[in-house]
Subunit: 282 residues, 6 copies
């Protein structure tokens, strides 16, 4: 249901699907957003703004133009029926993994990471998940629902054989923090444990899920549930760069909500993070 | 699940539930919004701004302070599970109708009118529905769903014994307009047929559902799907005033989406329409 | 305390004080605003945007460049002490009237019209006042205060020997409308009585006070208390043009609140109204 | 330099270039904007929002899905060198006209109409131009430049053998209005002369240039130079519909500046006008 | 004049007045704001958004649900007459102090701290005041007034027997800084002296007044007078946490001006600060 | 073509041209902006907001009121013809340098620094340039043009005999970074090399060009091309203060684009930077 887009030389994302190593596509879903909806507008806005940034990264001295990345556009919307939407995402990912490509998905809300990661676990049973977020997302249920942006990491944890590494977490119930203390490798408030994680994981396959609200709202106002006290952009870059030593097999960037970002800064930050992730994963 | 609010003398809405003739409450639901979500913020914003308008209406020379109206706050949110939400609304309305009070509901998206009107039809089998809207809302299904803001008047039509009167409709598929021509009393573009409707309906019970996008987006930008070519505020007032001759038993105002209204004008318009509706219905 | 500004050829307002027939200055006061403050930013914003409009008016076939108008900048702010502010305005106006010039003041909130009109009445005991507004502004007191934007026309009425002509009024308490019916020449909702007013007034001196919320909020969102159901720009122009037959001795334009006007349209409308008023008065 | 886009079934614009009768593309140029730039963002924003409106028009009972229209994306930007940009547009249009297709261009500022219309005049020496605008655009030069959004209709007039019909004009210098009175068929303020124009033109080829600021800024705030006193959307539709009797060979819609339209209404209006124009021209 | 609000379980603020230890209420006053008004909208906006944050704080491992806090709504507005407003606040505070409860007030502009602190000094003659702010607020008079947001700490200093501790100050006249150097314990630019203050104060009663513009405008744009160079959210939290060792008897959070915060981040920051203050004070 | 403005005591900028040591004026040009135009609105907005900040700086303990600074307003706009504009700037600067005054120019886009610095090099052949920016601006050409905001430092480098010191650079092509490594003294990402620069330069004349996007977009969203990962305000102040030991002969502040700064924070930051620069240069 996703479709190859017209190549755009200015973005550095211009391979055909067949030639590509990495497949980018959007999932404009925000159906369980309880506070401020709008993550559905994230993928479109990233595509609209991405040629405003350079394809070359001075952080890691690489250029997107040297990579083989394909933009497959956005999945169509399915609101009202959560399960149908999850199933569609799952099968789309399976299809791409069968072609031995990596996916980098643009959200949409965080719940989409669940149907993305499920087929990854099937393919890589020892998969680790690295999770950047302001929120623990470890509730067992939220407003009576088990499938929600607020429960997604709990659901993923339940299916995961590898470790769930959490970074930047600064919001949750008392119960979520207690659960994390016992079950996940949680780093409260900051990203200090990244290097230890990289050492421990070694060559095991890794999926990276980046909820952009891990950033401080000063630099990322355009998100559904901003939480003050987050990391700066430079801290996040410093946390992401060591990941280049890992075997990253997939990633997502979720929860950009551009309607809450009248200056456009949040989208430009998301574009830059996407560039760094693509360069690391390629 | 709705709760009596603290009376506010400035709004003219200060009766207790027991004393009231008319019960106002909000349903902050926008779960099937396909284009721009945000109608969930409507009720809260109306409550926040309503003391910015006078309680006295020079249009009909009546004052809210002379009416017995109770504000019962908002229903809690249920996203992700459409059916649960519809059931909750339905039973809330039943409860109030049993107490022989009228309801004026603040949306939220238009789908909420379905579970509101169902118990009304049970109580008033010969109920007529007067529908102000830019959109026909007569699709049989939308993006694969039968329960949606775009199908709501079709679902209501299917349960209705009385007539569905549609005013201001200027957007829909070819099929919707064809369906309307055969099945409903549709007034394309304007409200010219109001007086004929009033004559025909006579003393039968009437429910009024007002999708505020019937107004031109020049005066009502704060709505999910603005459609140019709508009626002016004065035209809408002129269309609403004759309804005072009818036996109106309930009403709703839906689709105010205040995040798309940076100047605040849309909310002040919605407040004024609420005042006129309350004065007519009281 | 006001100071001659640097002449700006693009605005058509470039006379020196000495050479001028008409003196424009701003009073950036909004200290009694009860709902949404911000009219203090009106004069500055008008000055900033006024060279975006032409100096020539096709409505009355005249050009500002052919008039003798001086811009004297803004009065300094005095918040906290209403009476001092009123006294300062009063003496500023007296000074200019002594020099036999006309004033066109940019508000600021409507209360400023009181200390402007007082010296006018001293100079022209048979002064008429033409009042365009959405609100009657005829309360005797408001939130316990007798000096307020909501009482200003009542205070002016009390000092006036001539007639108070009110146009476009569509909001007020029941008592205000009753007071108007007995004491002023009120035109509810529209400007239809303008020509009758012009005939009746004849050659008597006239002061025009234009609260821009007389316009519908679709074209004038940038005002403190928007009231739907106002006149269109073309209707207001049609109401203003006949005033050129009168002996207008002064005018003001009040209640532009540009912070509630993110698109900038309200300011451009105010600039255009200012141009027409200046051309009529010159 | 323009490129065939991925077909989008929801927009009704999904033909290939080869199959198409009408070619749509954008020219995101605003290099001579003197007041508020930003028309460069128009084409992208229209493409982003166009699936928010229906493909079926109840005004003329036709559906875009029944037409053969191709979207060729946007021309690359050329700022700083006006002449190069004009030459590029001219040759792009020539190329399409050679293939016997019609063009509907999305601006960008109004100056782009000059290099579009030049090749049209070569192909159709008796071309008429119908011009909807708030501004006469008939200056001989503006800020020292002969090529500008403010001079574009003067330059086009100089090359035109047919008649220049102007509608809705309400802003200009005294000289522009005098020039128009002698040389063009100007309709000040409104569109009343449309039917006479249609009669007079008969079967001659016609190009339609629609500066969206002909609309009142209440419904079209998102434009560089808003001018109060414009036509309503319904008046513009009523003015456009009679054009279906003409032999329209090309059209453009210019001056949408979406950054000045925080509510998004202006873009939705532009999309609807584009739909009507495409249906009339197909 | 303040009224007990409907309890809201989601906010953790749901005690009755009788049961409560801490009383929260708002004072929506901004009458002396000289630059950008709008702090009057602060309390309402905080109430509207506060259930967007968790009741549990990972910073101090406590939950609002375990505290006894009552929300008493907002005081009615009194603009135009500063002294009446100050007197009303003073007597409201006296009343609550007599009931042996603590107050946490939501501003409104900073001047409100004066009538709040006066009765506190009466009850606790050895009261210390801890003052977080970008501005010294130590002018003797401002624009001719002695009662103003710019003079408030000078007035409080004059009545205080204990020490005035100032943190984060980075803006003022040369005279204000000189006055502070001689009379208060001023910490320019940062909060480094907090621990010394805590040691020195020991068990004496303390009132905390938090002007949120002490934060850098990157994280707190929504305030009347933003001053670059402020502390980060994490620095402020680190400055507030040690206060839990003190005997805090009251607090206020002032100068949130949500109309200058289109993304909503400022309000969410204010809500989080309110949570931490309430947890520390309870 | 620039004109002496009315002195404004509140801004501390109130000398006459004749008496002044430092001349401030604006160049509202953004004609080569490729991404988001609007820097043309910078000078006007700075003038509008500058009395919102104090004239006294606690950072360097000096007051603007003790300096001799003149505001000469803005140069008129010239869009469409880049070369004419550059020539006009050049001759304006020459004129002021001949009067032995220093200039501090408010942009406008960065290209304006080229015609400003050219006459400086003529007067001071051994001029050094200190360049704060997120972008290298060292392209040889951009979109086919040699004169552009993206090439400006390359053009300046070509004329410079002294050294080009670059600070905060974090965006560019691979080629630009390679060019900088060989030819300029580039400090990637931060300002750490400032002190070394000050030592090396000694008493040679220095021109400072400050592109405000060197700041992180969290504190400076209002700029055409925001680049995450910039310096904080305090870091920039710490980088600017050591410059007071240098012989600074001129400076500019460019690329403020206030339309992308809905909260107004960016302009207040620019005003504060202007104050510090003026105090250092005076």
């Amino acid at each position: 249901m996703i479709k190859e887009q017209v190549p755009n030389i200015h973005t550095g994302i211009f391979s055909s699907y067949v030639d590509s190593d990495v497949v980018v596509f959007g999932i404009p879903y925000d159906g369980t957003a309880s506070y401020r909806p709008g993550a559905r507008f994230g993928p479109q806005k990233i595509r609209q703004e991405i040629d405003g940034i350079e394809t070359y990264s001075p952080y890691i001295n690489k250029d997107l133009c040297d990579c083989k990345i394909c933009d497959m556009g956005d999945m169509p919307l399915f609101f009202g029926n959560t399960q149908t939407m999850l199933d569609n995402i799952n099968s789309e990912i399976q299809h791409i993994l069968k072609d031995d490509k990596k996916t980098v998905v643009l959200g949409g809300e965080h719940l989409i990471s669940l149907p993305i990661i499920e087929p990854y676990i099937k393919k890589y049973p020892n998969l680790h998940v690295i999770h950047f977020d302001a929120h623990a997302d470890l509730r067992n249920e939220f407003l009576g629902e088990r499938l929600s942006h607020a429960t997604v990491m709990r659901r993923i944890f339940e299916k995961l054989n590898g470790t769930l590494w959490q970074f930047g977490i600064r919001s949750g119930t008392r119960e979520e923090f207690a659960f994390a203390d016992e079950n996940t490798r949680i780093n409260k408030f900051d990203l200090n444990g990244i290097k230890e994680a990289v050492c421990t994981i070694g060559s095991a396959p890794v999926y990276v899920t980046l909820d952009i609200d891990v950033l401080d709202p000063s630099i990322m106002p355009g998100t559904g549930t901003p939480e003050a006290g987050g990391v700066t952009f430079n801290e996040l870059i410093a946390g992401i760069l060591p990941l280049s030593e890992l075997n990253i097999v997939g990633a997502d960037i979720v929860e950009l909500s551009p309607h809450y970002d009248p200056s456009g800064v949040s989208t430009s930050v998301a574009c830059k993070l996407l560039r760094e992730l693509l360069l690391i994963i390629s």
